[in-house]
């Protein structure tokens, strides 16, 4: 039997136990991975020294090409080369259509609500495409850091709704990486700045990326980042600058709207290059090869460009106003504005934003990398490499959660900008005598009509005991966890019957679909399914063992009597023993058994910690 290794109480883990964790910025246009090495957070380059990984995946017959090589093929092979996939993540085809920016791919018909793009390698979903990008980043980090990653923090736009967050998590699951937390991009940027400068006060974070816009107002107070409000537009970004510019070029060059995919991509590429050049130059020369074989030449000045994008930049200021109002603050309260996202390189954006907030705009950290750096810092804390009380992030849910009531109206249950995690209960009753089931429709959004909000899930409460109409009291508890994901629980209060809740994801992937994708990707990666399952359980066992050993070392003697202690020790060493064998089912059972056994100990620990935190207050002040 293996001996338990117990560290001395109060001592932290030995330095060699520094765990490998990374922060990933999964962007619309580019993605990055960063990690904390020797106390410094930095983005990790590929073997050729490039930090940015273009978020582009090309599917050929038997290969998946990710990054620079794929981006080069975007023009020549537009249908098999997927760009800006983040815009499609967690959305249905209908929604993409209504956004008016449906990329030019061939979509396959299917029963699932998730769009699938037809490629040479078969139909792929946005979750699978995103997983390909994550795999490359994880691999880069593992090669650079010299070992497997134990966990990652993935950033998402603060304005991402439940389905978009869930889809991001699904992509990570598909890529086989453990997600410590989904972190809002603006919060990550604030972390990157806050820890460097230690500046207390209220800050605005203006994040204009390739496809999304986010604004967050947050207060920094002794290492605690409290998000006061957040807002934005999940379908507005630098890509839209390119699009208006491409349209302008088409008009100037006399091109009609029905140019082919290749021409469209080429125009978008030229537009993007012109936009980037105009950040420093006063004008650019343009040349477009026409289908007729002729060449159109023209000039675009920065002033013209600014006129073209002005309405788009102005559009970002409306969410800024709303975020200030939601925070109960005015422009005068804002100390500074942190600029995030490549699109904030556009001079007009900097000027308008700085004017709006009447504050200096901060941009010392590369706006492309700042989010990944913040995520790496948070990953380092969450994985346990840093003392936990050094930094704490208190984030909010970006959109109101509600349910459908009579007449297609929305009853808000958790309003937007409520600090998460949050749980709110609502009571329902039956409409008819003897009614045994009821349907609940959960929506997300700010509007009053269900039809104007995003449908998240429909579920049925079943097994309600027969009663007269209006007598049943069904308490439904809605919760949003620290990742911003929704959970629902229901209970009939008068009888204590727990009604079964079945959530049918409106636009997400079902577990069966993810299972099938996982199997497919296994075949692709030529990995053995059984070996992977065993490894997963072993990693889980290691996690549980380490956490419990650390807990026992710090307060096991205090909180457990000798009998309890002996029995936990016995189960613990049994798990240690099993985790070295190769039966995943047995390891799983042992983990579950041990967790059940420790239930009361875990509760006692948390209470003891809370008491400790509050000690010194209650005694003298609460007589």
């Amino acid at each position: 039997m293996a001996l338990l290794q117990l560290s001395e109480p109060g001592k932290s883990q030995a330095p060699h136990q520094q765990r490998l964790a990374a922060g990933i910025d999964l962007g619309t246009t580019n993605s990055l991975v960063a990690s904390v090495r020797s106390g410094v957070a930095e983005t990790l380059p590929d073997t050729e020294g490039r930090h940015l990984l273009p978020s582009v995946v090309r599917y050929t017959g038997d290969q998946r090409i990710v990054g620079h090589a794929a981006r080069s093929a975007a023009v020549s092979d537009p249908l098999n080369t997927i760009v800006s996939i983040k815009r499609m993540l967690g959305r249905s085809i209908d929604e993409l259509n209504s956004l008016g920016s449906l990329p030019s791919y061939h979509f396959t018909h299917q029963e699932s609500a998730v769009p699938r793009i037809q490629t040479l390698a078969g139909a792929v979903s946005p979750v699978e495409v995103s997983a390909e990008i994550l795999r490359v980043l994880v691999q880069r980090a593992e090669e650079t850091l010299g070992g497997p990653l134990e966990g990652v923090v993935i950033t998402v736009p603060a304005y991402f709704d439940d389905a978009q967050r869930q889809a991001t998590k699904d992509a990570a699951r598909l890529a086989g990486v453990h997600v410590l937390r989904l972190l809002n991009e603006p919060t990550a940027a604030a972390v990157a700045y806050g820890l460097d400068t230690g500046s207390e006060g209220v800050h605005a974070v203006y994040d204009l990326g390739g496809g999304t816009f986010d604004i967050s107002i947050l207060r920094l107070n002794r290492g605690v980042f409290e998000v006061l409000s957040t807002g934005g537009d999940s379908a507005l970004g630098g890509d839209d600058f390119d699009r208006v510019l491409a349209r302008w070029i088409m008009q100037q060059a006399g091109l009609s709207d029905d140019v082919d995919h290749t021409m469209q991509r080429r125009l978008m590429r030229d537009a993007c290059a012109a936009k980037e050049a105009l950040s420093s130059a006063g004008s650019v020369q343009l040349a477009v090869e026409l289908p007729s074989g002729d060449c159109w030449r023209g000039e675009l000045t920065r002033v013209q460009f600014e006129q073209l994008i002005m309405p788009l930049v102005r559009k970002t200021l409306t969410p800024c106003r709303r975020a200030l109002r939601d925070a109960g603050l005015s422009v005068a309260d804002i100390a500074d504005v942190v600029l995030v996202g490549g699109s904030t390189r556009v001079p007009l954006v900097r000027i308008l934003v700085s004017d709006f907030f009447a504050s200096p705009a901060l941009g010392e950290i590369d706006p492309d990398r700042v989010v990944a750096i913040g995520a790496a810092l948070q990953a380092d804390v969450l994985i346990g490499n840093k003392p936990l009380d050094e930094m704490l992030l208190l984030d909010v849910n970006p959109l109101s959660l509600g349910i459908e009531t009579m007449g297609g109206l929305v009853e808000k249950i958790i309003p937007r900008n409520t600090t998460i995690p949050v749980a709110r209960a609502q009571e329902f009753t039956t409409f008819k005598d003897g009614q045994s089931a009821m349907a609940v429709h959960v929506v997300q959004g700010e509007r009053e009509l269900v039809s104007d909000c995003r449908s998240l899930a429909r579920f049925e409460l079943r097994g309600i005991p027969p009663m007269v109409a209006g007598a049943a009291r069904i308490k439904v508890t809605f919760s949003v966890d620290a990742d911003g994901l929704l959970g629902v629980e229901a209970r009939e209060e008068s009888t204590g019957v727990t009604a079964s809740v079945e959530i049918k994801p409106a636009y997400g992937l079902s577990d069966a679909e993810i299972g099938a994708m996982l199997r497919d990707s296994m075949v692709y990666a030529e990995q053995d399914m059984a070996a992977r399952r065993l490894r997963e359980q072993q990693v889980e066992a290691e996690r549980v063992i380490e956490a419990l050993q650390a807990a026992l070392a710090s307060d096991g003697d205090e909180l457990l009597n000798s009998e309890e202690r002996a029995s936990i020790d016995a189960s613990l060493s049994k798990l240690v023993d099993l985790s070295e064998r190769n039966d995943p089912a047995q390891i799983k059972a042992a983990i579950e058994g041990l967790e059940k056994q420790c239930e009361s100990y875990v509760q006692r620990r948390m209470n003891a910690n809370v008491r400790k935190a509050m000690s010194g207050h209650s005694v003298e002040e609460f007589k």
Binding site: G151, L180, R181, N221, R222, V224, E226, R314, L317, T318, R321, R322, R325, V381, L382, I383, G384, L388, D389, L392, L393, L394, T418, T419, I420, P421, V422, A423, R424, S479, D481, A482, R543, V544, A547, L548, E595, C598, E599, V602, Q603, M606, N607, N609, V610, R611, K612, A613, M614, H617, S618, E621, F622
Partner: protein, 181 residues
């Protein structure tokens, strides 16, 4: 045992009462979250994660309740055995209702003004002044909390809800004006 038996004031180690030290409340809130927040349990067992989630959600709820003058009043009433029906209850004070009607008309008229934002802002200064007067009146009622005073507090709360709704509608109007920009 902590949490589920303690009331929100006890949870934060603060005296039960309407007047609250906001900076102390915020400080205690941060101290508590540092201990129970799910970020501290990112690597812990599922069980600990669940427990941490419940505790952190409860502390958030407590903070939200104690911070807000209306929620705090309502909570104090419920500690005194009075449950208000937020949806149904309304004041019958006709003078107050008349004033509300006038304030709403002024708000609606702001739309047509050359600088609607300025008109709304002026109106809000007045509304906020009245609201903070009500907060003062509330504090008095909870000092000794006799049945009559609790009833008076309940009536003030009904009126505060009106003011709150008005503030909310003013914000909505501003948002609507923003959209039109």
């Amino acid at each position: 045992m902590l949490d589920f038996s303690k009331n929100y004031f006890e949870l934060f180690g603060l005296p039960v009462g309407y007047i609250i030290d906001k900076s102390q409340l915020a400080e205690r809130y941060r101290e508590l979250q540092r201990v129970v927040h799910p970020d501290r349990f990112a690597n812990a067992s599922e069980q600990e994660k669940r427990l941490s989630l419940q505790r952190a959600a409860r502390i958030n709820q407590a903070y939200h309740t104690l911070k807000d003058p209306i929620e705090r009043g309502r909570y104090l009433l419920s500690l005194n055995g009075i449950e208000m029906d937020v949806q149904q209850e309304t004041t019958r004070d006709s003078v107050f209702l008349m004033e509300q009607l006038e304030l709403r008309e002024e708000l609606e008229a702001a739309r047509a003004k050359p600088d609607p934002y300025a008109t709304i802002a002026e109106l809000m200064v007045e509304v906020n002044q009245r609201f903070s007067n009500m907060v003062g009146e509330m504090a008095v009622q909870f000092e000794s909390a006799t049945p009559e005073q609790l009833e008076a507090a309940r009536e003030i709360l009904r009126k505060m809800q009106f003011m709150q709704k008005l503030r909310h509608d003013a914000e909505e109007l501003e948002a609507e004006l923003d959209e039109a920009l």
